[in-house]
């Protein structure tokens, strides 16, 4: 990877409810690029974003973001660092009691002392960037799923962050909304020079816009590289995921006892 790393994870181990989610994950996320983190459902992709954002602490290992070791940061320093981060949640996570305009204005009102007319201009610019300037007065309950995510995207870039993290931005979107989101993520990255981390299991869309990608499974990174390198990756598991094959090294069936014993065919326990 030629670019300098903006985020560096080193030997990150994280367990929850007795289950090891990450078992020594090491990863560099380059500055100013789009990095896709992919993997089957339940492998901890969203958890990885929460570790980077400091919402969770790893059992061991270091997570460096913009030169700061996130798990070691004190509360105030962590909240200051988060002002450089934006995060697009899977659900959008808009504040339901605020209009689209007020949602986007929220971080500006909290973190800046800008006059009201300037806040208005910035909010309208951000809403214009996601094509929703005309929807400023709508409440979240009046927005479609795709519009909700676009307003949330406008809110997450309101403070012009250095880093933006997208949690499953394409999940449940129709093809048009998905196309709009793909274009927005690409345009925002190139126009604002953001470091973007995209968590998704939508392979074609993710590989179409990312500069670098990695695939997580069973607590490890099983493959990483540019989209072209990943497509040629020798690992069967990587190829099974990229090509969406139902069975392979990642089994289709959840581990279960012997079928004969479950149906009482072998005289085993019922």
């Amino acid at each position: 990877m030629a670019s300098e790393a903006y985020i560096t994870l080193t030997d990150v181990v994280f367990s929850r409810s007795g289950r090891r989610i990450f078992d020594g994950v090491t990863l560099d996320i380059p500055r100013g690029k789009i990095t896709a983190i992919m993997g089957p459902s339940g492998t901890g992709k969203t958890t990885l974003l929460r570790l980077i954002g400091g919402q969770l602490k790893p059992d061991s290992g270091t997570i460096m973001v913009a030169g700061e070791n996130v798990p070691r940061l004190r509360r105030k320093a962590l909240y200051t660092l988060r002002e450089k981060m934006g995060m697009l949640f899977q659900s959008g996570a808009l504040f339901t009691d605020l209009s689209a305009f007020e949602n986007v204005a929220f971080p500006l009102r909290v973190h800046t002392s800008l006059p009201e007319d300037m806040i208005r201009d910035i909010v309208l610019m951000k809403l214009e960037a996601v094509g929703l300037r005309g929807a400023r007065d709508l409440m979240p309950s009046e927005l479609s799923g795709g519009m909700t995510r676009r307003v949330a995207l406008a809110r997450s870039i309101a403070l012009d962050p250095e880093l933006i993290m997208y949690d499953e931005p394409f999940a449940g979107q129709d093809p048009i909304a998905m196309g709009v989101l793909v274009k927005l993520i690409r345009d925002l990255n190139s126009s604002m020079g953001l470091t973007s981390v995209l968590v998704s299991h939508d392979v074609p869309e993710s590989l179409s816009i990312c500069h670098y990608a990695c695939i997580i499974a069973d607590g490890h990174i099983i493959g990483e590289g540019t989209p072209a390198e990943l497509r040629q990756h020798p690992s069967e598991r990587v190829q099974q995921f990229l090509q969406g094959q139902p069975d392979g090294p990642v089994p289709f069936n959840y581990p279960a006892p012997d079928a004969g014993s479950d149906w009482g065919l072998t005289g085993g326990a019922r």
Partner: protein
């Protein structure tokens, strides 16, 4: 047998862990004092939501409870020819006990459950997480104004409850049953002590308000972010608040009015 002991131990650990989390949560919510320009509008909004919107149920309940007290009191006291004392009976009952306790129970049912459900839903829809990721502490932005609002609103609601209750009792005993109005108010004035009765009642409401709101916001914040989790947390808020109010009422009454 060993399994039961182990289960009891686990339960003990869980209770201690929950109390610890609740204490840590309370410290986090009360630690940061937001700037007045930011915090005051948030507080006023929550005072409206928690206090003003609870007024209807408090006023109606206070009125009927006062009327029932007037009716019962008159019936009992008239057997002894002491119906003139009905005013002091109503006032002491309301100011010392029913005002604080019933208001707290109503508060837990109306405002407490609403607080839990609202915060639980904010958690389930990732609004609290998104706030954290924007560099805004939800404990200070969401929890603290609600906690202070409950703490402030509950004593005021209890005072309104008692005042309306006394007025309801007067309606029945004076206007309907014919107790002499001068005796009604005069006996009340001579027997109700501002410090021993009214202030002690207010102290109770402050304690109940604090406990009920703390339970409500903690249950919402700590709930499992699913529909079943929010439902369970809302139920726990009402049950735990009610039990806490009744238990604390006994302790506070023993301390304030017990003649040991």
């Amino acid at each position: 047998m060993m399994d039961r002991i182990a289960a009891l131990g686990r339960l003990g650990f869980n209770v201690v862990a929950t109390v610890g989390r609740a204490g840590y949560f309370l410290g986090g919510a009360l630690a940061g004092v937001p700037k007045p320009a930011v915090g005051f509008p948030l507080l006023v909004r929550q005072l409206y939501s928690v206090g003003v919107l609870s007024l209807a149920i408090v006023v109606v309940s206070g009125l009927f409870i006062g009327m029932v007290l007037g009716l019962q009191g008159y019936t009992i006291l008239s057997d002894y020819g002491s119906e003139a004392a009905v005013g002091q009976m109503i006032a002491l009952t309301l100011v010392r006990e029913l005002g604080p306790v019933v208001t707290a129970l109503l508060f837990a049912g109306r405002a407490g459950s609403a607080l839990t459900a609202e915060i639980g839903l904010m958690k389930a829809t990732e609004q609290l997480s998104s706030m954290e990721m924007m560099g805004v502490d939800p404990l200070r932005r969401v929890i603290a104004p609600r906690l202070w609002a409950g703490f402030i609103a509950m004593p005021i609601l209890a005072v309104i409850f008692s005042v309306v209750g006394i007025w309801g009792g007067m309606l029945v005993s004076v206007d309907w049953l014919g107790v002499f109005e001068g005796a009604f108010w005069g006996n009340m004035q001579s027997s109700v002590s501002f410090v021993d009765d009214v202030l002690n009642g207010v102290v109770k409401t402050v304690v109940f308000g604090f406990v009920c709101t703390w339970i409500a916001v903690f249950q919402g914040y700590d709930c499992v972010p699913t529909s079943a989790g929010i439902s369970s947390a809302t139920t726990k808020t009402v049950v735990y608040s009610s039990l806490a109010v009744l238990g604390l009422d006994f302790v506070l009454t023993a301390v304030m009015f017990g003649d040991f």
